[in-house]
């Protein structure tokens, strides 16, 4: 899974990244190795084709969205710091981070829901997500009614879209902190 370099000094900006994201050195190293593994041509950055090479991701209904989330708006490539920063969102939270974590956690999930960065999830976007997730045997009308229902439930200010606060509120019973954490990244 790795290339030859196995020391932290080879990782660019390692100290800043450690500070910023809170990963441990071992983790950062592991992520760097993974990054290099994905980076087949050794370019130093990842493009969307590299992501698509991950086989399981192509089976994932929202694979495209996930991949997109790594790319900052307007950019074509993902360098290692961005890669790490995105993954840092999925670190299991420790106690002292819960306060900010509670704010931050729904953010990435939300951002993946939104195509246009306008701060809201509109019906269209929700429909798209549903369409991707549900796949074939579902008709348009069903999707629409589900989307309607979802927006109706969450939309408190009745602007026909779900803002970030409404989103968070509707999911307050789902313990996002716990859900959005991958043990591997602790």
């Amino acid at each position: 899974m790795g290339s030859s370099s196995s020391s932290l000094s080879n990782v660019p900006n390692s100290q800043e990244l450690l500070q910023e994201t809170g990963f441990s050195a071992a983790h950062l190293l592991r992520l760097y190795e993974r990054f290099q593994f994905l980076d087949k041509d050794n370019k130093g950055h990842l493009r969307s084709e590299d992501f698509e090479a991950v086989r399981e991701l192509s089976e994932n209904p929202i694979g495209d969205r996930i991949v997109e989330a790594f790319f900052l708006p307007g950019q074509e490539t993902v360098d290692f710091p961005s890669f790490v920063r995105v993954l840092a969102h999925f670190r299991p939270k420790e106690k002292n981070r819960t306060r900010e974590g509670a704010q931050q956690e729904p953010e990435p999930a939300n951002s993946r829901n939104r195509k246009q960065i306008d701060g809201k999830i509109s019906r269209v976007e929700l429909l798209q997500v549903l369409r991707e997730m549900l796949g074939m045997p579902v008709t348009e009308e069903q999707l629409q009614s589900i989307a309607e229902r979802a927006i109706q439930e969450a939309d408190l200010d009745k602007d026909d879209a779900i803002s970030f606060d409404e989103f968070r509120k509707s999911l307050e019973k789902v313990n996002i902190d716990h859900k959005m954490s991958i043990r591997f990244l602790k």
Partner: protein, 760 residues
């Protein structure tokens, strides 16, 4: 009675209850007394000897009590022996149920004291009465317990197990169940052996193996007791599933240890080889039990695929297959409990996709009914058996047992949590640990296992100690856990209406996390879960789910059930005017049964604005509906508003009214309707991603029939014509006069209800 205020009325009804109870007790004892007169000698209650029956039948036949040879024709005969056994069984069950009723009539008591305590208390009373009459009371026979009383409770628990919570915490639960129970058994056994060496105790004849046997019996947390107590305190789900899951899974350990030590205590010594075999046996017992359960579960699921023509017997399949799983496991001395749980868990998603709503409701109610009765009987018998004895009270033994039980539990939980927390994302706090430790109740399983021991002095001493521990845990811990929970402000079960948003986003998060894991190249929790789901979808569902429904994504069925439930609720509330709103919601995903492999769903097209208005009204009215704090209690039968015939008639009337109002509604769109007083409706608490929503709609088919024709009437300006001809815009619809249904509900046979209703 109505004249009096509620207080005196309750008192009087409570009084009549007590009188009734006394009456039954007297009958019970009187029956044995009468029997003695008739048969002429003292039998034990439970085994009537057929010989004596026959002897006296010719005598009794004549109706007189002495032998007459030339008799008049007996106008009235008394032949109690004929029905004795079923009669007594029924009386006992009746007594148990009346007790249950009685407790809830006296509210204050039932609030403080958990039901299990009250039932044991009643059992003590009954036992005392029986003893006073010098009769032999029925004891909690192990065979009766393990074969008849325990399975319903476990099946009920297993069938409705919250899968997601269970699998998420599986590691923790397993550690507690296996390692915790082992620790308990050996600690208690070892320490008791040390205690027995004390001269003052006069029990030095108890050897190490017997002590270990005793330790293994008493170490297991009991699912029945845990269920009985934890339900009433409505604790948060994590703790509930931890303690409850532990109590279920430790059965394997208990079985192995029990048999192991029992074998050895006869042999006298234990070698390393035996210990190794013991370990192997553990794996065989647990995995074998699970395997047996899985086999029967798959069989049950497969059978349910073909039951579309005989819906009435569907529930029976579920019960019988599960019971067979349990019995088959018991044949091989495998863990029957794990087998039962595995069977229920495996069977459930497929069976629920196949059976009708009515069958589903039947299963649910029957399971709850049986488990309720079983639990009640268990506790009462426990009380009776306590009075019955035989006892051998040894102060030191009993006291030390009690202390050691508590101590080992606390140490075990704290120690294990310390280790477990290193691996958990969601750590267990001190409060959680306390509740887990405190919730380790012992119950009837320990008693029954003790009862199975060979009859000697030691056994009686053990039994006494076991009973004492059971009483202590159930009474003291059971009664104080509720105030403690409140005192410590432990998180309670949250009320949560099932929300489509939650469902969507939970699934979304699942996919998201799986994707991230894939990017990281890490085969984690989500990865395997995803793989399992995929396997399930591609291979398993095809075989086990009838028709085309295996394609239905979970989100859709969840949504359907949600909508249907709301439809029912709104209909029941009596406002027909709201129905159109609900109608469109339901109709929008009204799908025809895909018998003809027609890939298209036929759904009437509603204009967006229309839909929006409808939804506004729907939402406005929904938010006004009072939703009571929904806390799940196993014994609450949810008030089902549609369960009577009256509602059928009402539906028809409402439907007519509704169509009348339709035109009015169409012309006055966005006006907010008045909300009538809504009856309190209980919502189901279980809304996890992996389990289907438990919706209550016995009349599901009826509702959908009703709603479907009206949906199209929204756009049709002449509502009267909707009866026969659905709107023209949906082509396929007009072909089929039969109503369509949500895919997640096959509904009753169309022939029975469909046409008649439709044409009415």
């Amino acid at each position: 009675m109505a004249v009096l205020g509620p207080g005196p009325a309750r008192f009087w009804s409570g009084f009549t209850m007590v009188l009734l109870m006394l009456l039954i007790v007297l009958i019970l004892t009187g029956s044995s007394w009468t029997r003695d007169v008739l048969t002429g000698h003292n039998d034990t209650w439970r085994e009537p000897s057929p010989a004596t029956q026959e002897d006296h039948d010719p005598d009794q036949h004549n109706g007189t009590n002495s032998a007459n040879h030339r008799k008049a024709f007996p106008v009235l005969a008394f032949n109690y022996g004929h029905v004795r056994k079923p009669f007594e069984i029924s009386l006992w069950i009746l007594l148990a149920l009346l007790m249950k009723l009685g407790f809830h009539i006296i509210p204050r008591v039932s609030h403080i004291v958990p039901e299990s305590c009250l039932l044991i208390f009643v059992g003590l009373l009954v036992g005392g009465v029986i003893k006073a009459m010098n009769e032999k009371a029925p004891v909690l026979d192990s065979k009766l317990f393990f074969l008849y009383l325990l399975p319903p409770i476990i099946l009920d628990a297993g069938y409705f197990l919250p899968i997601r919570a269970f699998t998420e915490n599986m590691g923790t639960i397993l550690v507690f169940a296996v390692v915790g129970t082992l620790w308990n058994a050996f600690f208690i056994g070892g320490m008791m052996f040390a205690v027995c060496q004390i001269e003052a105790a006069q029990v030095s004849h108890v050897d190490l193996l017997s002590c270990l046997l005793f330790g293994s019996i008493i170490s297991a947390v009991d699912p029945v007791a845990v269920l009985a107590v934890f339900e009433e305190i409505h604790i948060n789900e994590l703790l509930h599933i931890l303690v409850f899951g532990e109590s279920l899974l430790n059965d394997a350990v208990t079985v192995v240890l029990y048999h192991l030590f029992e074998e050895f205590s006869h042999a006298g010594t234990v070698t390393a080889r035996d210990a190794f075999l013991g370990v192997v046996s553990f794996f065989v017992v647990s995995l074998g039990g699970i395997l047996a359960g899985v086999i029967y579960g798959i069989l049950g699921a497969f059978t349910s695929r073909f039951t579309s023509h005989s819906r009435v017997i569907e529930p029976l399949f579920v019960f019988l297959y599960s019971y067979m799983a349990y019995l088959s496991a018991e044949v091989f001395h495998l863990s029957g409990i794990m087998s039962l749980i595995a069977c229920g868990v495996i069977m459930r998603p497929y069976v629920e996709a196949n059976i009708s709503h009515k069958s589903y409701t039947t299963i649910k109610y029957f399971l709850k009914m049986w488990s309720s009765v079983s639990e009640t009987l268990i506790f009462i018998f426990l009380g009776v058996s306590t009075v019955e004895g035989p006892h051998n009270w040894n102060w030191i033994f009993v006291i030390f047992t009690l202390i050691l039980c508590l101590l080992s539990r606390v140490l075990g939980v704290v120690g294990l949590t310390f280790i477990i927390n290193k691996f958990r994302i969601v750590k267990l706090t001190k409060k959680d640990q306390f509740i887990v430790a405190y919730g380790g109740l012992r119950g009837a399983i320990a008693f029954s296992l003790g009862f199975l021991l060979t009859d000697n002095e030691m056994k009686h001493m053990f039994l006494t100690a076991i009973i004492t521990v059971i009483f202590f845990t159930v009474f003291v811990q059971g009664m104080t856990i509720r105030p403690l929970v409140e005192l410590l402000a432990v998180k309670r079960k949250k009320e949560s209406k099932g929300s489509i948003n939650e469902e969507i986003h939970t699934q979304f998060l699942d996919h998201l996390l799986t994707g991230i894991e894939d990017i990281c190249g890490h085969y984690g929790h989500h990865h395997w879960k995803d793989k399992l789901n995929r396997f399930n979808k591609t291979y398993v569902k095809k075989w086990l789910i009838a028709g085309e429904r295996y394609n239905e994504p979970q989100l859709i069925s969840f949504y359907n059930k949600l909508e249907m439930k709301q439809a029912l609720m709104l209909v029941e509330s009596g406002s027909a005017a709201k129905l159109p709103a609900v109608v469109s919601a339901v109709s929008a995903q009204n799908i025809q049964h895909q018998r003809e492999a027609a890939p298209q769903r036929t759904i009437p097209r509603l204009s967006k604005t229309r839909e929006a208005e409808i939804r506004k009204i729907l939402r406005a009215n929904l938010q006004n509906t009072r939703q009571k704090l929904r806390s799940y209690s196993r014994h609450d039968l949810f008030m089902d508003p549609c369960e009577d015939d009256m509602s059928e008639v009402r539906f028809r009337r409402q439907r007519v009214e509704m169509e009348r109002r339709m035109s009015h509604y169409l012309t006055v769109p966005a006006k907010r309707q008045e909300t009538p007083s809504v009856r309190k409706v209980w919502f189901e608490p279980e809304h996890k991603v992996y389990t289907y929503d438990d919706s209550e709609s016995p009349g599901g088919g009826a509702i959908q029939l009703k709603l479907r024709p009206s949906d199209t009437s929204l756009l049709d300006e002449s509502p009267q014509s909707t009866d026969r001809s659905p709107a023209p815009q949906s082509e396929d619809q007009s072909e089929r006069q039969k109503p369509s249904r949500c895919l997640s509900d096959p509904g009753p046979n169309e022939d029975e209800e469909g046409s008649s209703f439709f044409l009415s």
